[in-house]
């Protein structure tokens, strides 16, 4: 087990380096002089003093590989630079404020998806072609096709504007400070309700589909037949033997779809004005805030890498074949 974990960890190192290279190149290969872009776009006249300063601070006069090297060595010291916004705050502390919010949203989202998709998928597989199965199949297709930002708008119209039941932006009400402790928690939860619902919707469709597929494959296997043949109750056959084996591929798929789930935060956070990493990314893109964009990209993808690694390790824990046998492709 330890050897396997170490090997996976070693494989992650070049990927980590790759993340920094892509993040660096993506923003430096863009046409035009980055310093000029920062000082105010190509149409406006550029303040020569400020331009010179920027070129110096960001080493833009040096060759590309040297710029990369300097940037990388400051990254290693956890120095992500300062934002170009007037407040000029360190990028790391901006991300530090927002990361917990995005993490919270994504973890809650993932727990809900796993907790609902597994029973839905398993049930529709064991009752293939039943009404339940047909209804969930329709739900899956509609869920796949529904744009998350549109669902957000519809829910805002319905619950926010028409019914007035739930808040539609931010994480706290304006009078938050004056509420009692329990009221504060309730207020926070009511702010989370719509964003979490939207973020869960698409993923739920996908996962219940995968779960159904995986379960269908498993219940056709010989060992399920033999479990039945030796007289086990159907409840045990399905609930224990089939379900456990059907869950195996789901762990991998969960790991693989993490980038998609996390990427969804961009839309959800900006529609509901939630101050997380996704919203920061959109703001930074509008303001062409170089250091924030690069820092954000590096952190988000590194987190995805770590989460993928954890999913891999979890998979090898539950399925020993992976550790011993062939390497997963």
């Amino acid at each position: 087990m330890l050897a396997y974990a170490l090997r996976r960890l070693l494989l992650a190192i070049p990927l980590l380096l790759g993340i920094t290279i892509v993040s660096f190149l993506v923003l430096h290969l863009a046409p035009g002089d980055p310093a000029a872009v920062m000082v105010g776009g190509s149409e406006q006249p550029i303040d020569p003093e400020m331009y010179k300063q920027l070129v110096k601070v960001y080493n833009l006069d040096k060759p590309l590989w040297q710029q990369y090297w300097l940037w990388l060595s400051s990254l290693v010291r956890l120095d992500f630079g300062r934002s170009f916004a007037p407040h000029g705050r360190p990028v790391l502390s901006m991300i530090g404020e927002r990361l917990p919010i995005t993490l919270l949203l994504n973890i809650v989202e993932m727990l809900i998806i796993v907790a609902t998709a597994i029973p839905i998928g398993a049930l529709s597989a064991t009752r293939q072609y039943s009404t339940f199965d047909k209804v969930t199949t329709i739900f899956v297709f509609v869920g796949f096709a529904t744009p998350d930002f549109w669902l957000a708008l519809l829910l805002m119209i319905l619950f926010g504007v028409q019914l007035g039941w739930l808040p539609i932006s931010g994480l706290r009400s304006l009078n938050w400070e004056y509420l009692s402790f329990w009221r504060q928690q309730a207020d926070f939860l009511s702010h989370l309700a719509l964003p979490v619902l939207v973020a869960t919707f698409g993923g739920l469709a996908g996962f219940s589909r995968y779960m159904r597929q995986s379960m269908l494959e498993v219940i056709r296997q010989d060992y399920i037949q033999s479990a039945r043949a030796k007289g086990l109750a159907e409840r045990v056959v399905i609930g224990k033997h089939a379900l456990r084996n059907a869950l195996l591929p789901i762990v991998t798929i969960l790991g693989l779809s993490l980038p998609t789930l996390i990427g969804g935060s961009v839309i959800v956070e900006s529609v509901f004005a939630i101050p997380g990493m996704g919203q920061l990314m959109v703001q930074a893109a509008f303001e062409r805030d170089y250091p924030v964009l690069m820092g954000n990209l590096v952190i988000v993808s590194t987190l995805t890498l770590v989460a993928n690694l954890l999913a891999d390790l979890a998979y090898s824990l539950v399925d020993p074949r992976i550790r011993v046998g062939r390497r997963r492709r």
Binding site: L15, I19, F149, L154, P259, I262, V282, A285, L297, R329
Partner: protein, 286 residues
């Protein structure tokens, strides 16, 4: 081929999806003829008019006809869907073929590149790139294509790994055909079925991505109408004009749904074995 059509025609949902797709493509191509109003001419006397006989889907903040704008927006979705999937498929086929055919270091390098690209949450990467590019429809298509080829590459590689051991390939190698010819003339045609399915399913994913970006304001820019940016403008009038937020989203939903039904129908009809393996290789929009 006969078997394919027979199997496909039996799947009523897939046929329905195909019909809707054909209607959508026709409507997009004929948008200038079909649109009842000029989608770009503002009219101060008709600001935010609700749906009526004159304006079937209402008007927007500038008094422009929503139906006409949506018909023109369909052209953007169509173009983005086809072109970006074309780009993604071209890159994916080339890299996947090289990796699967040559194996060894080439394979290892390309597959690490795939792993690397898959680590980036797509929307974060797209935003980082788009922040510094002039956001035209062409930029959007290229950027979506460049960030969406990994699924096809994996798929093509897997097909090549299986096919290159087959006798017809080994024989061509034995008579001295060069690698390029073997890849293009012998292996690739046999690997195309799952790629075509992946491409059909990639179109709706690209459409979702484009509309998401345009909704954020970082995609195709106004005044050019797209479903995403009509929704973006509609968001500001959400309490006054529900029709701006409802109809364009419905159009996206219908389009994506139809392409998905069509794609899955083609997959099942081509080869029931693919039901499990081909899967959804081009990731969902977000």
């Amino acid at each position: 081929m006969r078997g394919f059509w027979k199997a496909f025609a039996r799947n009523r949902l897939a046929v329905l999806g195909g019909i809707v797709v054909i209607c959508l493509v026709t409507a997009a191509l004929l948008a200038p003829v079909l649109a009842p109003w000029d989608p770009y001419r503002p009219d101060v006397k008709k600001i935010l008019d609700p749906p009526s006989g004159r304006h079937l889907l209402g008007t927007d903040q500038l008094g422009r006809d929503v139906l006409s704008r949506m018909l023109h927006g369909a052209r953007v979705s169509l173009a983005v869907g086809f072109v970006s999937v074309g780009i993604a498929a071209a890159i994916g086929i080339m890299l996947g073929a090289a990796a699967g055919y040559h194996g060894g270091t080439v394979d290892a390098t390309i597959m690490r590149l795939v792993d690397l690209m898959l680590v980036f949450p797509r929307f974060f990467l797209l935003l980082a790139v788009l922040a510094f590019l002039k956001p035209s429809i062409w930029t959007i298509m290229v950027v979506i294509g460049l960030t969406g080829w990994m699924g096809v590459a994996r798929l093509v590689r897997a097909e090549f790994l299986a096919l290159k051991e087959r006798e017809f390939v080994v024989w061509s190698q034995a008579v001295g055909a060069n690698a390029f010819r073997i890849i293009w003339r012998h292996i690739l045609p046999n690997a195309m079925a799952p790629v075509l399915v992946a491409m059909t399913l990639g179109i709706p994913a690209a459409i979702l991505t484009e509309s998401g970006l345009s909704f954020l304001g970082l995609g195709v820019q106004p005044p050019r109408a797209t479903w995403g940016n009509i929704l973006n403008e509609g968001k500001d009038a959400i309490e006054l004009a529900w029709w701006l937020s409802v109809y364009p989203g419905l159009a996206i939903l219908l389009t994506v749904l139809s392409y998905n039904l069509l794609g899955e129908g083609i997959r099942d009809a081509l080869d029931p074995r693919l039901r499990q393996s081909a899967g959804r290789v081009v990731s969902r929009g977000s």
